[in-house]
Symmetry: C2
């Protein structure tokens, strides 16, 4: 504090001064031509300063570091260190990270790994304690984090992650309430996740202490949530893009209650369109004033998450600064984190190593699989079928008449077989179902990223290739693979919890593109479907309409397991 004051007063030179830039002021909406003095990683002053190092930024725009209000690092398949390298060049200096994917595999140890590896990078990954592990009782996962676990995690986490178990909240489940009480006692932020809540449910959910939601897809829902006191996080993920639909809610009153987030974003998007900068840019393109858009991504996110040490270029704040060439196009030249230049012209300037952490390795625990494991026994020929909805992760619950021979399903030309193989506790559980609209031919695809419990999901048109695919996933300790006519084509290894690669973004992007292309071109997967990502969501039982877990077929409408046979 002493040195910061001396530098602010001009008694000592700053470590670094960014000279004469157009400083974006998120408090007043102004642009000031001023110097920014940095000392020990913090902003000492904005005004007229000299420094030991001086950088001329005349004509450039200087914004506070961008904050992503809600994201899952695991969704990128990048490890925390490689994630930091991938996103910091886009101006994201802080992210509110919910590590609930790895927590479903490795429990608290997985969260601990994410925190420790992130700390080795300049990126401020602000971790939230996952609130819903397992996400549901309808599937087997790798670990349970109960209220005591959440309390333990809050010693090292900033708040509590998205509370997907909304029914547990509004119907007063005891362990759920204990988690919320932990959060309340500590005064920390609890993130929400509650699409389509009724008026009373929303009151109950918010009254229980949950203050954000990133699941709004229409303005009615978003307005209701703002009215009742929530911050609404406008999401631009890879699969779910909500900014265009939610844009009309932005006005002078609601602006302060809005934050941007990415939630789940894949490597090709990170490479091509970036990160939170994309939310800002899109909002500007739609007509929002650039400073308003930047305010949402900085000051608002900081206030929403009670990160009072950032979110603005002002004395005492962390010196997270994004240097921008054109404020309307938002092309990012440099990124400073804690006063250190960490990225320039799209490239990270730091190195960060992947932690060698045995807690998150070797997480695929299954016996060797054989083709007979995928036999589908039927008592009737009228069956339920999961109907893919192109460009979406929901399904329709359909019915079909199939051929049955010796009490066993016979492959239909228009249906693919889908299975979820439990991989955490070696229970031997395999749930088997039928999928319409995927259209795989002459092979199988398997992946160990399968929401939310991350068992192995496999889909194919023959049991042999399905077995080969699952055994390949076992061999590499998690990953994604494509099999054709009895042979593995290629595999992206995801050795970290079966969710993340230990390679950098370029490698992952290339490999996933290759695998997806192969799936579409050789295995003839429906062109309107993303082959791997779509599969990853077929096990997400908490969204409509018919899904599959290692325990069987799950019907969303009745919210219970159903037999595959209709009658």
């Amino acid at each position: 504090m002493e040195k910061l004051i001396k530098v602010a007063m001009g008694f000592e030179k700053a470590d670094l001064v960014l000279k004469g830039g157009n400083v974006i002021n998120v408090y007043t909406g102004e642009i000031e031509v001023a110097d920014i003095a940095v000392c020990d990683g913090y902003i000492a002053g904005v005004g007229d300063y000299s420094g030991i190092e001086e950088v001329d930024v005349c004509g450039k725009y200087l914004a506070p570091g961008f904050i992503d209000g809600h994201l899952h690092i695991e969704s990128t398949m990048l490890s925390p260190s490689n994630f930091a390298k991938a996103i910091m060049p886009w101006g994201t200096t802080t992210g509110i990270c919910d590590p609930h994917e790895i927590a479903n595999v490795c429990g608290e140890a997985g969260v601990d790994y994410m925190i420790r590896e992130s700390k080795q990078t300049p990126f401020d990954a602000v971790f939230m304690a996952p609130s819903c592990v397992p996400a549901t009782p309808y599937e087997n996962n790798g670990a349970t984090i109960d209220a005591k676990g959440v309390d333990r995690l809050l010693d090292k986490c900033h708040g509590v992650g998205e509370f997907m178990n909304a029914p547990g909240v509004v119907y007063g489940d005891k362990d759920v309430l204990n988690k919320l009480k932990c959060a309340k006692n500590r005064g920390v932020v609890v993130d929400g996740h509650y699409p389509m809540a009724s008026a009373k449910e929303l009151n109950a959910y918010i009254g229980a202490g949950i203050s954000t939601d990133h699941e709004c897809t229409d303005i009615v829902d978003a307005c209701d949530k703002i009215r009742r006191g929530m911050y609404v996080l406008i999401r631009e993920g890879s699969a779910t893009k909500n900014l265009k639909d939610l844009f009309p809610i932005i006005n002078n009153k609601t602006l302060r209650r809005l934050v941007f987030c990415t939630d789940d974003r894949q490597v090709h998007d990170l490479l091509n369109i970036g990160h939170i900068n994309n939310n800002i840019k899109l909002a500007i393109e739609m007509g929002l004033h650039p400073i308003d858009a930047i305010t949402i991504a900085t000051l608002n996110a900081a206030e929403c998450y009670k990160l009072f040490d950032r979110g603005a270029i002002a004395p005492g704040k962390i010196a997270d600064i994004v240097v921008i060439d054109d404020i309307n196009k938002l092309n990012i030249l440099q990124v400073y984190k804690k006063g250190v230049l960490v990225a320039e012209n799209g490239k990270a300037l730091f190195d960060a190593k992947i932690l060698d952490c045995k807690d998150v390795k070797n997480t695929v625990h299954i016996k060797d699989i054989c083709k007979d494991d995928f036999k589908l026994k039927l008592n009737s020929n009228k069956v339920r079928v999961m109907g893919i909805e192109p460009h979406n992760v929901t399904t329709k619950s359909l019915e079909a008449e199939v051929c049955v021979k010796d009490g066993e399903y016979v492959t239909s030309a228009n249906l693919s077989k889908i299975a979820v193989v439990e991989r955490h506790k070696n229970t031997g559980n395999i749930g088997i179902g039928l999928l319409e609209g995927y259209d795989i031919k002459g092979g199988a695809i398997a992946v160990s990223v399968a929401h939310d419990s991350h068992n192995i999901i496999v889909c194919g048109d023959n049991d042999e290739d399905m077995a080969i695919a699952v055994n390949e996933i076992k061999r590499v300790g998690g990953g994604m693979t494509a099999v054709h006519n009895g042979k593995v084509f290629d595999t992206l290894e995801l050795p970290i919890a079966g969710l993340m690669s230990d390679k950098e973004i370029g490698y992952i992007a290339e490999k996933t593109e290759k695998l997806n292309k192969y799936a579409t071109e050789v295995l003839k997967v429906n062109k309107d479907v993303e082959p791997f990502m779509t599969l990853s969501f077929m096990s997400l039982v908490v969204i409509p309409e018919l899904k599959i877990s290692d325990k069987g077929l799950f019907d969303y409408k009745s919210f219970k397991f159903v037999q595959i046979e209709v009658e």
Copy 2:
């Protein structure tokens, strides 16, 4: 939490439902016709509810309880319990209270008394630990609160009170920085007080962790402070009224950075125009949208002071609700605090007792005073004179030629004698000076409220009456008195620290009016001067130009003591 959720869901009846009112939504700027369900003092839901008790508020406007961002209870001369009764009918349900007046007399024990007595009332007095006790080294006061004291107080206080010692901050005084470090370690709010800071000083002051300022009197200063990240508190006190001057700074961007406060407000204003409601009303009269004005007084203040449990009518917030007849006129019908009706039609509905606390009694420690104590010895006839500036608490530093006989000042017709008698430690210190523009004739006035150290200040045209006045203050253990021709006219006793009465507002208002009227009409004090209040500020050495403490005459420009003789 369980019950709140059940009530929100409609599974149980609310304790209280305010039915069908026009609910002011500070998040969206809307007015919704809705019920407000209250359970255990908190808002369970806004929507369609039924309750054990139901109150029809159709056609009425419902606002969140008002928050005063900065005030000194002692300035009203009301004890905390009587203060609560006086202000709650005006809609103020929370106040950020800096008890630095009593702290200057009684130290930490005084703060403790304020907290304990306030807790017996429904009013949420949010206390800040006084940061500057004593306010300066240029006077004797009753106690010292150093960094360790502030740290101790922070166990029971919400933050740190106004940091008047701005030079101590920007020049890095060690004890000052230790106080700021305490606050930083605890993550609490530190209030500022820094009129006329230079650009660099402001950077240093804010960088040190000080986040508010209530001393802005012009828009340039206010804008500079908002730009650098401060919340600006727009003050409407009794002596200092800043809203009209600061009104132009309010716009859609700055709005969220503004809070209302009263700072120092006297009983006649509390009786006649109210409290924070008056700031809101005035802003509406000047053209601000009523909901914006209410937002400043509620949501903004709550965010500024990190009081996340209030500031809006929304689920999970404390049920502090103001029922208003006409949103433009802001006439307040009822006030609910924690879901309980605490005031109606201008009357408090609760009783609250004054604590019998010996720590804050018998605080006048002086020997008996005689007229010779006020002899003013002079080596020259050319002297410095404090020149009153009507309607202001500053003075001009003047010079005059006076009559000297036997080395002693002889009363001049146009000058009054003023003295400050140290009353805390019985040091016998008496500072004596001359005052132009007060014009008292045939008597003396004395008061034990004298900023910031609250010694006894006395002013008269003859030493005999001055001695009688001070001895009267001693007799009653603190208060304000007027003496005419050797006789005490009347005295308002202020037995609590010599600052506060144990009587209710009506009594104090009547007595002060009587004393002021007597001073003006009988003692002929200048009609453009408030007789007692003006005296109380003559000892405030930290404002221009010439002031007096128990240690002598203090010159603001040179910031040091000066002899009364010019040469």
